[in-house]
Symmetry: C2
Subunit: 330 residues, 2 copies
């Protein structure tokens, strides 16, 4: 990753600036409620439906804010990114809307729908092998060769500020919350959301949700330093970070109260509940925060809980597999 | 069906009264947009997402309004209804919220999820055979024996007024529309929506959408009188009316510009698009209006089109069947 040459403070003012840039460009996504899910869990849940965001995930917020923050000269040369899918789509659409071009490195095993959607938004996609190639080195080479500006998926203050607008809108709409539960991959969404939420609700509890197989942030917070796990094999394809971000981690050390981990089965069960009761399409990664709530319901009982449903980019083919008759493991 | 003893005018004032009763009780559902679906169809589409309504369909609006309009004495005795599912759930929840009880006749082949949801809202469910038994006679017997007030699914002005609030909210939120497309079963949603929309947009075109196998309203409007079809066999289980309503039909004769019919395959294709691009769960009946737009895209090109997505009560099991690998017809 390209080193940041100057450290600077990151705070709620950055999120406010992002909110101004996103106004009229990003959707103000609805906050959904379900009395049945409240009754089933014992909590009062306020779902921020970022699956209904442009490009199908919260990632559009950060990508748009970061590209809008570039100089005209940088935008004239174009941007690049690496992503398993949601950040890719977000960068491609944001680049097009802001009059520039996007080149995106995507792992060869990224969901086909995410790749074709990225191309549909006008992005140029280059594949790589997630399990053997160093995506950061590839992206740096690309940025250097073509003069492109790398829009990092999470380790970028403008990206974090954009992501924080999701929580800002949620708190503005529902008022007080006891707890906010946010899925964690590189940690940009929870860092931005934590800063935004705490600026309005200083005592709100901030809980992360990670896949059991990709618990790099939980491990790192426990150890007090960034640890790296092997590339997680999980259906939560957007939560396959191997290590917390260099910029996000110290923020999350200060902000995050706990990280809960969930299995793939927990995630599918949560997706079923969201489909059948909330009537929205949530991808596996997008259901992780709600899965953490369901699997730890006693912890949240009686509380007003905000849950960020971070994305909905799952194909009907994948849905049919996840929800169809159980196959024997081979 | 119980005869109405006094004819009365039905108009936008009734919808306004319903809007007042529903405030704080029904969800003000979001209006969703998709630039990809706009590009694919050539229309500017404003989706009113009634799948996100309480009980998973617009039916809650009419049921709540009708039960709220009863006298205290009527509410003390309880209500009854017959429904293949969405009206059943709506009546059950509205009855509970308004402090009364609901007895619901449901066809034995109604989706299991709709039956269990009705029971979950506290409704007492009695099954009947949709293909051999006369549900209206059964409901009348029940109403008479137990002193219950029948809340008809569509042939009731308070129900129609409640349904009309969906279109009222849509027009209030998006301003002008050239066309409004609404699914049609008994005709209550389109009658109420037509009255509400025309009160604000006198020239808006009003298009109905029906299953090919259940085109009773299309046939009836063409012939100028109510005709009866055999019980339609379609995946659109909420659009299986055999004949237009006695009260809804004359309204719809005056209001509706055209009815378009769609096949089950058209509906599944529309559901796929809504899932993958709009990220919401729409049941087959709920996708009928969008299917009609997609299958007749040239007709809507360049227009601002409101589409009511009427419900989302489909189980993940059914989804897996609809979206899974194609089975050979047996």
């Amino acid at each position: 990753m390209r080193p940041e040459t100057s450290a600077r403070a990151f705070g709620s003012a950055d999120v406010q600036v992002a909110a101004g840039r996103l106004k009229g460009n990003a959707h103000r996504t609805p906050v959904l409620r379900s009395s049945a899910l409240d009754a089933a869990t014992g909590a009062s849940i306020f779902f921020k439906a970022e699956c209904l965001q442009r490009t199908g995930s919260f990632k559009f917020r950060g990508a748009f804010n970061a590209i809008a923050a570039l100089t005209e000269d940088e935008r004239a040369r174009g941007v690049c990114a690496f992503s398993s899918g949601n950040h890719a789509q977000a960068v491609a659409l944001a680049a097009r809307l802001l009059g520039t071009t996007a080149t995106v490195l995507m792992p060869e095993d990224a969901p086909a729908g995410k790749r074709s959607a990225t191309e549909g938004y006008g992005g140029r996609v280059i594949g790589f092998d997630r399990y053997t190639q160093d995506r950061m080195a590839l992206a740096d080479d690309l940025a250097e060769r073509d003069g492109l500006t790398l829009v990092a998926a999470f380790d970028n203050f403008d990206v974090m500020a954009g992501q924080g607008t999701a929580a800002l809108e949620l708190v503005q709409e529902v008022g007080t919350l006891d707890t906010l539960v946010v899925p964690v991959s590189g940690g940009g969404l929870i860092a931005g959301s934590g800063v935004a939420a705490r600026s309005l609700l200083p005592r709100v509890e901030l809980i992360g949700a990670e896949p059991q197989e990709g618990n790099d942030t939980a491990l790192s917070l426990n150890l007090g330093e960034r640890v790296r796990v092997t590339v997680p094999r999980t259906i939560a394809d957007a939560l396959q970070a191997e290590t917390p971000g260099r910029l996000t981690f110290p923020l999350n050390q200060a902000l995050v109260d706990a990280v809960l981990t969930v299995s793939d089965d927990d995630i599918v069960a949560a997706m079923r509940l969201l489909f059948e009761r909330l009537k929205i399409v949530v991808e596996p990664s997008g259901a992780a925060a709600f899965a953490a709530l369901v699997m730890n319901a006693a912890r949240f009982a009686g509380k007003r809980v905000g849950v960020i449903l971070s994305g909905g980019n799952v194909s009907t083919d994948q849905l049919a597999l996840l929800f169809g008759p159980r196959q024997e493991d081979s």
